[in-house]
Structure formats: structure tokens, C-alpha cells
């Protein structure tokens, strides 16, 4: 409790430190006194006094929000190994948190500025994993994390979302509806007390909780900046399995994943690969490539073109194909759920599993 309060107090100085690679993690690993000494600056004596007189009752408490200490039996096992957040605040049912964190946990992380391809893959992965009883952990952020959480909720609700602020107010306005969904179907957790607004350092610190919760961390799309690869680095440091989904080699959004793969991360192409990683099993080398055997030749040609990057009506008609025919084929595929419309008129191939329509 004291620790959570202290972190909320030190938000400003921590923000200043969250840019430097690894610095934040080191700082957070310090004890209360060292942390205060390192960051409090002029407020040192004041904070020390307050820390000494700290009463747990002073901390704001939200309705339906559980607090779990690290000495509690129900405290997630993965975090115990890390041992850093001494206190976890959870919204959603506590029993559900216990159930979700005792099941195998996979973290799906990646860039906030994902491409349609990344969003599709993240959603499909999460959906497949959640349907197989695996818990999907992720931050409450834009892009890949968001797609993964939605996918997990669709796939059966096995979603744990880590917030960079109090579990009541720690989400930016545009993510509130998603947070509500997560609370209904999964669990939202945070190391910060209620009524703590989202802070930049806390969003970065949330990455370490996500990585620590999970046995396997899958990077779907990330560029090669340290910020976007932070989740994978932390997971590596914790000795957890890191996996990555390859993208197109020309895409900047995937160059971080490629760097990880080059450095020895495991390759993931679908939920089955992740399940194999969880069981640590080699999978049979062959797999049926042709998932679209039922389609007629015309539709299949269009679908394959889209898969090969000829993904807008404009490119599909560039060689003089009849626009009406192409548009018709695209609609047919979209109606069958094999394609979805993305950014700027682009079409994205998707796996044709039944899914809920969110919103």
C-alpha cells in the first residue's frame, strides 16, 4: 500500500526517467527508501515524513476493486518471480483473476501504430488462444494491444489488461469502452491505486507486468525502437519465451519483429504455434496451405492477389480488368468473411472463423 502510494506521488520524476532504456525498471526495483532518495529531490524530507506516518486507510478505494498483496496466495505466480509490484489492484472478479492467471498466460504486444495486417493477426491470435483456454495479457493501449484484447474477449473472455494508472481512471477516453468490456469479460489490473491518472512512466512500467505475467510474449508488429521492443526485452531478461510474427520485409512496422527473429525469437504464424510453444513441443512440419479450396477460381485469384499485396481495387484493376467484376469479387469475399476493408481502401485477408461483431 505504502509503495503504491509512493509511486503515485513520484509520478512526475518517474516520467522524466522513463525515456532512458532500462533505467525505469532499475528504479522500480529499488526499495522505498532508495527510490525516495533517488527521485524526491527537494521534497525528500517531506515525503520521508509522510511515508513514515502512512496509513493504509488514506488510499482511495474504488467500488468492486480488489487489492492483492504479494504475500497473498492469490497473487499471480508470474509476478511473484519478478517480485516488483508488491500490491496489485484488480477490477473484475478476484476469482476470475485467479482463474486467468493460473491458466497459461500469453502476452501479445506490439506497436500502437499497427497496420491492418498486424491488427488482423493480433486479433486472430488472441481469439484462437482465448478459445483454447489460454489467457491473453496485454496493455490497455492502441494498436496491437487493443486488437489482441478485443480478440481475446471475442474468443471467450480470457483477457488480462494492465493499466498505466488506477484501474478506475487509468484509461484514455478513447479506450474507456474497451476497459468496460475488459472488466466485464476479463480482468483489468494495475500497480497504482485508484484515482491515479494515467502517466507515461506507468504505461512503460505496465509492459514489465505484462511480460512477467506471461509465459510466452508474442510480438506481432513492432518497429526497432527501444520503446516498442521494451516488452520483448523485459520478457527476455526474465527468461521467458519470446516469439514474433513476421511481416513483410519492406514494412517498417515489422522490422522490430524481424530483428527479434534474427536474434533467436521463436517464429509464430498462428495460434497453434503459440500453443506449441506453451507445451514446448515441435509441431509437424507440413500444414495444409490451401484453406480456400471451396472457392471458385475467380475469387481465389482475387484473394491470392490481395494476400500478395495487390490489395486495393485500384491495383487490382490496373491491368485493365473489369472494375465491376473485381468489385463484385471483393464483396463476395468480404461477405464470406475472407476479406475485410482496412485503411485507405485496402483489403486485408482474414481467417474465416466465426466471430462476434463488436460495436
Amino acid at each position: 500500500m505504502r509503495r503504491s502510494w509512493l509511486l503515485a506521488q513520484l509520478g512526475g520524476p518517474l516520467d522524466c526517467n522513463c525515456r532512458a532504456d532500462g533505467r525505469l525498471i532499475d528504479l522500480l526495483a529499488l526499495g522505498d527508501d532508495e527510490l525516495t532518495k533517488a527521485l524526491a529531490g527537494r521534497r525528500l524530507s517531506e515525503l520521508r515524513g509522510q511515508l513514515a506516518d502512512f496509513e493504509p486507510g488514506e488510499l482511495a478505494r474504488g467500488n468492486g476493486i480488489a487489492e492483492i498483496c504479494r504475500h497473498d496466495r492469490r497473487y499471480p505466480r508470474g509476478l511473484r518471480a519478478l517480485g516488483v509490484p508488491p500490491m496489485l489492484f484488480a477490477a473484475g472478479e478476484l476469482r476470475r483473476l485467479v482463474r486467468l492467471t493460473t491458466a497459461p498466460v500469453v502476452a501479445i504486444v506490439g506497436t500502437g501504430r499497427a497496420t491492418d495486417y498486424g491488427l488482423e493477426i493480433a486479433g486472430d491470435l488472441a481469439r484462437g488462444l482465448a478459445a483454447s483456454g489460454v489467457t491473453v495479457a496485454g496493455e490497455l493501449a492502441d494498436g496491437i494491444a487493443r486488437a489482441a484484447l478485443i480478440g481475446a474477449l471475442e474468443g471467450g473472455g480470457g483477457a488480462v489488461s494492465v493499466l498505466g494508472g488506477g484501474v478506475d481512471v487509468g484509461a484514455p477516453a478513447r479506450s474507456r469502452s474497451l476497459l468496460a468490456e475488459v472488466k466485464r469479460g476479463g480482468v483489468a489490473v494495475s500497480e497504482l491505486p485508484c484515482e491515479t491518472p494515467p502517466r507515461r512512466w506507468a504505461a512503460a512500467a505496465a509492459k514489465r507486468i505484462v511480460a512477467a505475467l506471461a509465459a510466452v510474449t508474442v510480438v506481432v508488429e513492432a518497429d526497432d525502437s527501444s520503446r516498442e521492443l521494451a516488452g520483448a526485452r523485459i520478457a527476455q531478461a526474465l527468461g521467458r519465451t519470446v516469439a514474433a510474427v513476421p511481416g513483410r520485409v519492406s514494412s517498417r512496422a515489422s522490422c522490430g519483429s524481424h530483428a527479434l527473429l534474427r536474434a533467436g525469437a521463436r517464429l509464430v504464424t498462428g495460434p497453434a504455434d503459440v500453443l506449441d510453444l506453451l507445451c514446448d513441443a515441435e509441431r509437424p512440419a507440413h500444414e495444409s496451405r490451401d484453406r480456400h479450396a471451396g472457392l471458385d477460381a475467380r475469387l481465389r485469384a482475387v484473394l491470392e492477389s490481395v494476400g500478395a499485396g495487390i490489395d486495393t481495387p485500384q491495383k487490382l484493376t490496373a491491368n485493365g480488368e473489369d472494375a465491376g467484376e473485381v468489385l463484385h469479387a471483393l464483396s463476395e469475399l468480404e461477405l464470406r468473411g475472407l476479406l475485410a476493408r482496412g485503411d485507405g481502401g485496402r483489403y486485408v485477408a482474414r481467417s474465416a472463423v466465426g466471430r462476434l461483431v463488436v460495436r
Partner: protein, 508 residues
């Protein structure tokens, strides 16, 4: 002595009959005009005095009172000059009075007595014909416009003295033949559709929009040819019918183009995005006409749609839905026709490059703001969405798909089919079909029903979206000369539907 002459004043797009009564009697010399005259009418005193004197008549040095009836209607513009002068001359015995009641006098006077045309000539001519007031006397430059009204007796008076001669039973001045130096309004055929390389689906969408009168949104990064495409729609729209042309000429005549010929090409309005709501709809002042009205029977093109102020875009909803605008202000209310086709172009995101590789640098919040700005009720009324993208390699070498002449033939043929089918329902274009007409006129086969059902189940189409897709599908079938909507017509319509995530990342 008292004399009475007839004329009209313009009120918005409508005309009001005005009776000019002039009383000349003994008293201190004075010239008073009563009856809610605006500044231009009050200044008529000076013009009328000079014109009368310069035409060789006498300006009576007595007490003159001119009353403009009905007294509570504001009178605007200089077009009352001719009626004032003639009534004054009649009241002072210099002009025969008997025929004044059988004439409508409409024109501004120059100081030397020349009669000038005024805006709104066609509207006044129509009103004269409707009210059965007899002969219309006006200046030579407006006469050609007035002769567009069938069965109206038009007399041309080049000068005040000619008007007096006409009122005395004499001959009118000859109607000016169209001289070569009269500026023709039509500026030639305009840019041709064959200039567009590649972009097949967008060209297709443009042709569909033109054929069915559908509203079209072009979305794409800068430089992909959105504006280029939009500017070519004029070249593939069929010319106005005569009735439409008269309507358009009337509106143009009131808005300031004087002495125009019959307008033959469709109006094209492309206001800048700094436009205000009053500029779009009209009604800032009593007689201000908005862009939507000027675009009646034509095209309203809004480039950079997301840059327009939100209230302006919201104000488009009524005209798009009803084909008219009802303007209500504290002191006046009126209804104007505004049946236009909306053509809009927008960038997919604030920086313009969403979907172009990694070039888009907009944050998620910016994208959300952009989406919010465009989403909702306005997009709900846009039937077609064509998304363009950069594809430089194929552009230069791609063959032109279709030229304007052929596209125009296709469009005209498709419109004829629609008109034949829709005649009994009082509309002419597929875009204007309502839900009951869709139910009645569109027999869908099993395959099409199945497509619509699965689109609905996948959350791709709302109920309103379904109607829009059906209207567009009907137009595509018309373009393909098909009596029934086939699956491929419907498929194209679904692929070009307007309600999909316009830009940015999707929620799921």
C-alpha cells in the same frame, strides 16, 4: 393627378408584384418615395429626375409622392426606376395613362434615359405571365432572357422615350439578335474523362454516381486525382432538360448574371472550405441565396470535406434528404429548391497518408478526431465511396478506360431507363427512390437476398445502408442494361458502399 404602374420586386428566389402609384399635386416642390424602399430604390429619385430631364421631358416642379404598394413588403434594387418614371410622366400628363395597367415595367434607368436590365428578369417574366398582367417592357439586354417564357408579350425599350412610345401604342424597339460579342456562358466541353489513367474503380464509381444521381465521396492521399476526377463529372452528365434549364437560368438570373442565355450545362459549385452555414444554405439576409440552391440540378463539390466546419456539414442534411431547404428567420421564412448531387473529396487522415505504407504520422487520437468529423449523419447520406491510392507505376502506362462522350452516352441511356420506370412515382433518378419504392420496384432473386443477408449478419450493412446499396445496385443494373438486379450488380454496389470505416484503424 394620379397614375399607377406595375412592376415586380425580387424577394429571395420569389417575386412580389408591386404597384407604383405616383401623385403629383400643387405644393412645395418635393419628391418622396414611401413603402419600405431600400437604399437603391430611394436613390431612384435622382436617377429618375435626370433620366426624365435628359430624355427631353419636363420634371414637374410640384409636390410628388410615390407609393410602392403593398406598403409592408420591402422593395429592393433599382428595377423599379422604369415604373416610377413612367408613372410620374403619366401623372404629369406627358405619357398616356390608359395602357399603364396592361404593362409591367421592369428596368433600371441610366441618367441619360437608357433602360438597363436588372437581375431576376426571367423570374419577373414568369411572374408576369402567371399573373396575366399583359406586356412586359424592359431593357434590350434582358429581353432575350424574358423571351424564354412561352406566350409572354415582351416589348423592348432601349430608352425611357421608347417606353413612353410603347405605352402610347407605338412600336417597340427591335429585339437584339444574338451578337457575337455577347459572352456565351457555356465554356466548351470541359476536361475529358479520358485524361484519367488507371483508377478504374473510381471512374466506374463516377459514372455510376452520374447515372443515378448518387452522392459520391472520393477518399485518398494527396495527388491521387480526387479533384481531377471530380472536375470531369460535368462532362459526363446529360444536359439539362428545358424545364430544368429554365429553373437554373432563373436562379442564376436572380443571383446576378444579367442577360444570360438559357443555361445548358449543369451547375457546378465548388465552394472553399471556409464557407459558412449561411453561405451554404442562404438566408443571411432576406434575399441571400446559398450554394446548395445555386447547385440545384447540378453538382455541389466539396473538396477537403474534413476541413469544412462541422455545422456547415450538418446543415447539408436537409437538402440532401428533401431536395429543398426551408429557411426560417425571425422576420421571414421561405423554401428554396436544392436538388443537387453531392460530390466530396477528402484525405483519409489529417496528414493525408493513412494507408500509404508507413508514411502516415497521425496519432490514434488524431485519426479518431478526423473520423468523428466525417462520420455520422452526413456519411449516412453518401451512397458511394471510392477510395483512391497511389500507384504511380501503373498510372502512366495504363490505358484510358473510357472517354467522356461514351460515358455520357451510358449515363444518358441509364437515366432514360430510370425515368421510364420511375415516371409514375414523381421522381427521375434512382438516388431519390424511397423505401417503399425500393420494395415495390426491386425484385431481388434468391442469390441477391442471400448476399444482403450475409452482409447484414457480418455487420457490414445497416438498414439504411441496405437501402443505399440497393439504389446503387439498381443504377448499376441500369448501366448494364439489365431489367433485374443481378448478383454482380449488387456485389459492385456493396464494394462501393459508403459506410465502411473511412480511415484510420478499425476497432476490431
Amino acid at each position: 393627378m394620379l397614375a399607377r404602374a406595375h412592376t415586380f420586386t425580387i424577394e429571395g428566389l420569389h417575386t412580389r408584384h408591386v404597384t407604383v402609384e405616383v401623385d403629383v399635386r400643387a405644393g412645395l416642390p418635393a419628391f418622396t418615395i414611401v413603402g419600405l424602399a431600400d437604399a437603391a430604390v430611394r436613390e431612384a429619385r435622382e436617377r429618375v429626375r435626370a433620366a426624365i430631364l435628359n430624355s427631353g421631358y419636363e420634371f414637374p416642379a410640384r409636390r410628388i409622392v410615390a407609393s410602392l404598394a403593398p406598403a409592408d413588403v420591402p422593395k429592393v434594387g433599382a428595377a423599379l426606376d422604369l415604373a416610377l418614371a413612367c408613372a410620374l410622366l403619366a401623372a404629369s400628363g406627358q405619357c398616356p395613362r390608359e395602357r399603364l395597367d396592361a404593362h409591367v415595367l421592369f428596368g433600371e434607368l441610366a441618367l441619360d434615359g437608357e433602360v438597363r436590365a436588372c437581375r431576376g428578369t426571367l423570374a419577373v417574366a414568369q411572374a408576369t405571365r402567371q399573373a396575366g398582367l399583359g406586356r412586359l417592357v424592359l431593357g434590350p439586354s434582358g429581353a432575350r432572357e424574358a423571351t424564354l417564357v412561352d406566350g409572354l408579350d415582351v416589348a423592348v425599350a432601349e430608352r425611357l422615350s421608347s417606353a413612353v412610345r410603347v405605352l402610347g401604342g407605338g412600336d417597340a424597339d427591335p429585339l437584339l439578335a444574338r451578337s457575337s460579342d455577347v459572352v456565351r456562358r457555356s465554356a466548351g466541353p470541359g476536361p475529358d474523362l479520358s485524361d484519367v489513367r488507371g483508377q478504374h474503380h473510381a471512374v466506374r464509381a463516377l459514372v455510376i454516381a452520374a447515372a443515378g444521381g448518387h452522392n459520391l465521396l472520393l477518399s485518398g492521399p494527396p495527388g491521387t486525382g480526387k479533384t481531377m476526377l471530380a472536375q470531369r463529372i460535368g462532362s459526363i452528365l446529360p444536359p439539362l432538360t428545358r424545364a430544368q434549364a429554365v429553373e437554373v437560368t432563373r436562379i442564376r438570373g436572380i443571383c446576378g448574371s444579367i442577360g444570360g442565355e438559357l443555361v445548358s450545362e449543369r451547375p457546378w459549385r465548388a465552394p472553399h472550405h471556409s464557407m459558412t452555414t449561411a453561405g451554404l444554405i442562404g438566408g443571411a439576409q432576406r434575399d441571400s441565396i446559398g450554394e446548395v440552391v445555386l447547385a440545384h440540378h447540378g453538382v455541389l463539390f466539396l473538396d477537403e470535406l474534413s476541413e469544412f466546419a462541422r455545422p456547415v456539414l450538418e446543415a447539408l442534411r436537409q437538402p440532401l434528404e428533401d431536395g429543398r431547404v426551408a429557411i426560417v428567420r425571425a422576420r421571414h421564412s421561405t423554401i428554396y429548391p436544392a436538388r443537387f448531387m453531392l460530390l466530396a473529396a477528402t484525405n483519409p487522415c489529417p496528414c493525408g497518408y493513412a494507408g500509404v505504407g508507413e508514411r502516415c504520422r497521425c496519432s490514434e487520437a488524431e485519426l479518431a478526431r478526423h473520423r468523428r468529423r466525417l462520420s455520422g449523419p452526413l456519411l449516412d447520406r453518401i451512397d458511394l465511396l471510392a477510395q483512391l491510392d497511389h500507384d504511380a507505376a501503373s498510372h502512366a502506362s495504363a490505358p484510358a478506360q473510357i472517354d467522356s462522350a461514351r460515358a455520357r452516352d451510358l449515363v444518358t441511356a441509364a437515366r432514360e431507363r430510370q425515368t421510364a420506370r420511375l415516371r409514375e412515382d414523381g421522381v427521375t433518378l434512382n438516388a431519390h427512390m424511397d423505401a417503399s419504392m425500393l420494395r415495390r420496384l426491386l425484385a431481388l432473386d434468391e442469390r441477391c437476398e442471400g448476399m444482403l443477408r450475409s452482409a447484414h449478419e457480418r455487420g457490414l450493412l445497416s438498414a439504411r445502408g441496405r437501402h443505399r446499396v440497393l439504389r446503387v445496385a439498381r443504377t448499376i443494373a441500369d448501366l448494364n442494361e439489365s431489367e433485374r438486379i443481378r448478383a454482380r450488380d449488387l456485389g459492385s454496389a456493396i464494394a462501393l458502399r459508403g459506410d465502411a470505416g473511412l480511415s484510420g484503424k478499425r476497432a476490431a
